[in-house]
Symmetry: C3
Subunit: 329 residues, 3 copies
C-alpha cells in the first residue's frame, strides 16, 4: 500500500508538472491581480481620470515579475508586450473588472467561493513563474545560486517588489514602505520557493523537480485557502522567523533592547507619514481643533512623537562621533 501511495504521488506530480498554465490559470492570475489593484486605495479615481495609467498599472500587476526579471538579466523589459495573446487577455480582463456595465464581473468574482478558486489557481501559476525564473537564470549563470534565487524571486513576486514604481504610475508615492522593509506573505513564500527551486536546480536538494513542484504548489494553495477562509494573516513561518531573528540579529546589545520599541515606533510613524497631503491635512486639523480660544492650553505631545524624538536623540548621540558618513563613500 505504501508503494501504491508513492506511485500515486509520482503520477499526480507528473500530471501537475505537465499542466498548461495558458489559458485558464493565466486568466485566474490576471483576474486576481487586477482585482487586487482595484482594491488599492485611490485606484477607482485613477481608472476614471486616466484609463491609460490604470491599464499600465494593471499590466505591471500582471506582468511585473517578467518585467523585473527582464531588467535584472538585461533582457528587454518590453518582451511581455510581444506576447500579444497574453496582453490581449489581460487587457480584456482589466476592462471587464474596471468598466463592466453594472460592475458584474467584479461583483461575481468577489464572491468568496469563486475568489477562493481563482486565488488558488493564481497560486499555482506562482510555482511556474518561480521555476521559470530559476531556469532562465540557470541558463545564463551556471553556478550562480544567488542569481537564480534573485531571478526566481523577482519573477514570482515582481508585482510586489516593484510596487513603489507601480504606484508612481498612479501618482502615489510611499517611499517609507516597500517589500524589502516589510515583506508580505506572498513575497516571503515566493522567496522560500525560489531558494528551494534554486537548490533543486543545483542538486543541493535531493528531490526530483516535479515532486518539489507538487509539494510546493499544494503547500501554497492550501495555505492561501486557509488564510482566506480564516481571515488570519499570520505567516506559517512566524515562529521559525522569530527564532532565527533572535539568534542571528540581536548580537549587538546596547541597541537590541530598543528593538521592539523601534518596531512599534516605525509602524506608528509609517501610519503618520502615509501620504504627504494627508499628513499636512492632519496637522492642519490638529492645529484647528487645538485652537478654539482655550488660552494657556498646551497641546499634549503624542506618545508616538515623544518616543520618536527620544529615539532620534539616541541615534544622534551615537552618530555624533562619526559625522563624516558622506565623505567615506
Amino acid at each position: 500500500m505504501d508503494l501504491l501511495g508513492v506511485l500515486h504521488f509520482d503520477q499526480l506530480a507528473h500530471g501537475l508538472a505537465n499542466l498548461s498554465m495558458f489559458p485558464y490559470f493565466d486568466m485566474a492570475h490576471y483576474i486576481v491581480s487586477v482585482m487586487a489593484l482595484r482594491e488599492q486605495p485611490g485606484v477607482l479615481q485613477v481608472s476614471r481620470v486616466s484609463p491609460l495609467a490604470c491599464w499600465f498599472s494593471s499590466m505591471l500587476f500582471c506582468f511585473g515579475g517578467a518585467v523585473l526579471s527582464g531588467i535584472m538579466l538585461a533582457e528587454p523589459p518590453v518582451a511581455p508586450l510581444s506576447n500579444s495573446t497574453s496582453v490581449l487577455l489581460a487587457s480584456v480582463i482589466w476592462y471587464l473588472v474596471f468598466y463592466c456595465p453594472m460592475d458584474l464581473v467584479y461583483g461575481y468574482a468577489s464572491l468568496l467561493p469563486l475568489r477562493l478558486v481563482l486565488s488558488g489557481m493564481k497560486e499555482v501559476t506562482r510555482t511556474w513563474k518561480v521555476l521559470g525564473g530559476v531556469t532562465q537564470a540557470h541558463s545564463k549563470y551556471k553556478d550562480g545560486l544567488l542569481v537564480m534565487i534573485a531571478i526566481g524571486w523577482a519573477r514570482g513576486a515582481g508585482g510586489g517588489l516593484i510596487s513603489n514604481f507601480e504606484q508612481l504610475v498612479r501618482g502615489v508615492w510611499k517611499p517609507e514602505t516597500n517589500e524589502l522593509l516589510k515583506m508580505s506573505y506572498p513575497t516571503k513564500i515566493t522567496l522560500i520557493g525560489a531558494v528551494l527551486f534554486a537548490l533543486q536546480q543545483t542538486h543541493y536538494l535531493p528531490l526530483q523537480k516535479h515532486h518539489l513542484m507538487f509539494v510546493y504548489t499544494v503547500f501554497i494553495v492550501v495555505n492561501k485557502s486557509r488564510m482566506m477562509l480564516t481571515g488570519s494573516s499570520t505567516s506559517p513561518f512566524a515562529t521559525i522567523e522569530s527564532a532565527l531573528y533572535k539568534t542571528l540579529f540581536t548580537g549587538y546589545s546596547p541597541y537590541a533592547a530598543l528593538t521592539s520599541e523601534v518596531k512599534s515606533a516605525c509602524i506608528d510613524s509609517g501610519a503618520i507619514n502615509k501620504t504627504t497631503s494627508s499628513a499636512a491635512t492632519t496637522t492642519k486639523e490638529s492645529s484647528e481643533t487645538g485652537q478654539p480660544g482655550q488660552p494657556g492650553q498646551q497641546a499634549p505631545i503624542s506618545p508616538v512623537e515623544g518616543q520618536r524624538g527620544s529615539l532620534e536623540a539616541k541615534e544622534e548621540s551615537q552618530n555624533a562621533a562619526t559625522t563624516d558618513c558622506k565623505k567615506t563613500n
Copy 2:
C-alpha cells in the same frame, strides 16, 4: 490635373522622406528642448548651483527618447553619448541658452517668429524619431505590434515620459503628476503617430511609408503652429477623445456620476500637493493667519478639503469589505 496633383504629392513626400535631420533639424530640436527645460520652474537656480545637473537634465530633454527606448529594448542607455557630434552640438546649445553673455541666445530664440520656425522644425524631427523607434522594434519583434507602438512612442515622447526622473536630477519630485495620468499634447500626438507607423509597418494600414510621413509631419507642424499662434491648448482630438471616453469607460454606474467631481478634486489636490515644502508652508501660514487671538473662531474647512474628505470616505466604505488587498498579490 488630378493626376498632376498626385504626382506633386508623391514628389513632395519623397523629398521630405529623404531630408536629413542632421544638423539643422536636430539643432532646432535641441534649442527648443533646452529652452523648454529653462522655462521649468526652479531650473535657473539649478543652472547656477550645479551646472552639471543642469547639463544632465538638458541631455535628458534632448536624448530622453533614445535613452528610454534603449532601456526598454535592453540596449545601452549610454549609447546616445557615443555619438559625440550630437552630444557636442546639444552641449554647446545648452551652454548658449543658459550662460550666454547678455542672454542673447535665449532672448532672440524666444521671439515669436523664430520660435515658431524652430518649433516647427522640432516637430519634423518627431516623425523621424517615431519612425526610427518603430523600425528598431520591428527588427527585434517581427509581429510585436504593441512593442512597436511602445518603442515608437517612447522614442518620440521620451523626454515627457521620463519627466519624473528628469526632475529628480534637478532635486524636484512631483509623484502626483506624470504623462500617463495626464497626457500633454505632444505625448498624445506621438502616441497616435506611433500607432499609425506601427500599423503601416505591419501592413494593416494600406499607405506608403513616405506618404504617411508627409501627412503626419504636415499635420503636427500645422497643428503646433496653430496652437502657438492662437495660444490655445485644446487638442484637436478633444471631441473624439470625449466620445470614446464616454462610450468605453463609464460602464460602471455607481461611481460614474462622481467622475467629473473626481476630476476637479484631483486637479485641486494636485495644486495643493505641488511640493511638500509648499504644502507645509501653506499649513503654517493658515495656522498663523487663523491664530491672532480670535477665540472661538473655527477656521473654515476649505471646499476642496471637504470634497476630498467625502470622496475618501466613499472610497473607504467601498474598500471596507476588501481589506486584504496586499495579501492577494
Copy 3:
C-alpha cells in the same frame, strides 16, 4: 641619480599595477562601505526591523558601481551576485559590522589608525574600479570618450550616484539631494580619475597606464588621509573649481547677482525639506508653541521663508511670459 629615480618610479608603478585587489583591498572596501552605511541616520533602526533591506542596502554600497555601470551598458545588473566569493565576503562583513556580539568589529574598525589604513586601502580599489569601467566601455565603444568617462565614473562612484535609490530601499526618500546637484569629494575625484583614464586610453594623454595608476592612486590615498587627519572637507580643487565656475557659468547677468543668495536659499530650503515627516512635525510644533493663548501675537515669518518667497516671485515673473513650457516638449 635622476635616472635611478625614474627607474625606481617605474618599478614601483609596475608593482602597484600588478597588485591584486582580492581579497585584502576588496575587504577594506567592504568594511569601509558598510561602516559608511551604518553611520547614515536611521540605518540602525532598519537593521533591526528588516535585516534583508539592510543587507540589500549594504550590497548596493559595496557593488553599486558594478550595478550602475551594468545598467548603463545593458549588461545584467545581477552580475555582481554571480561572483559568490565577493558576495559572501561582503555579507560576512555586513553581518559582523551590524550584528557582531558586543559590537566588537565596528568598535575596533572605528579606531582612527585602523580606519585610516582601511580608508586608504579602499581608495586604492577606486583606481582599479575606474580603470575597469573605462576599459569595459572602451571594448564596446572604441571612440566613445564620453561613454568611457561616464562608465568609469559610474563604476568608481556608483554607490554615491545611486544613493537616492539606495535610500529608497531603506524607506528614506530625499529627492532634493543628489550627487549631481551637490557633488561630494569622492564623486568629484572619481570623475577626474575617469576623465584622466579615458584620455589615457584614447592616447590623448601621453602617459603610460601604470604610471597614471600610480600617480592617481598616491594622490587619492594621500589626500584622503590628509582629510581624515585634519578633519577638513575642503576639496583640493576648490580654487580651480571656483575660477572655472566664475569664468564659464556667470555669463547671463540679470540673474547672476542672485547666485550667492540662491545658493544659501537652496541650502536652507534643503534643511527645511529634509523629510516630509520632520517638516510636518516642525509645523506642528511651531503651531503648538505659537498657540498658548497670546492673542494678537503674530508669529514672525522666518527670514528663509521670506527669501524663498521673494525668489519664487522673481522667478514666476520671469516665467509669466512662457507658461507653455509643458507644451513645447
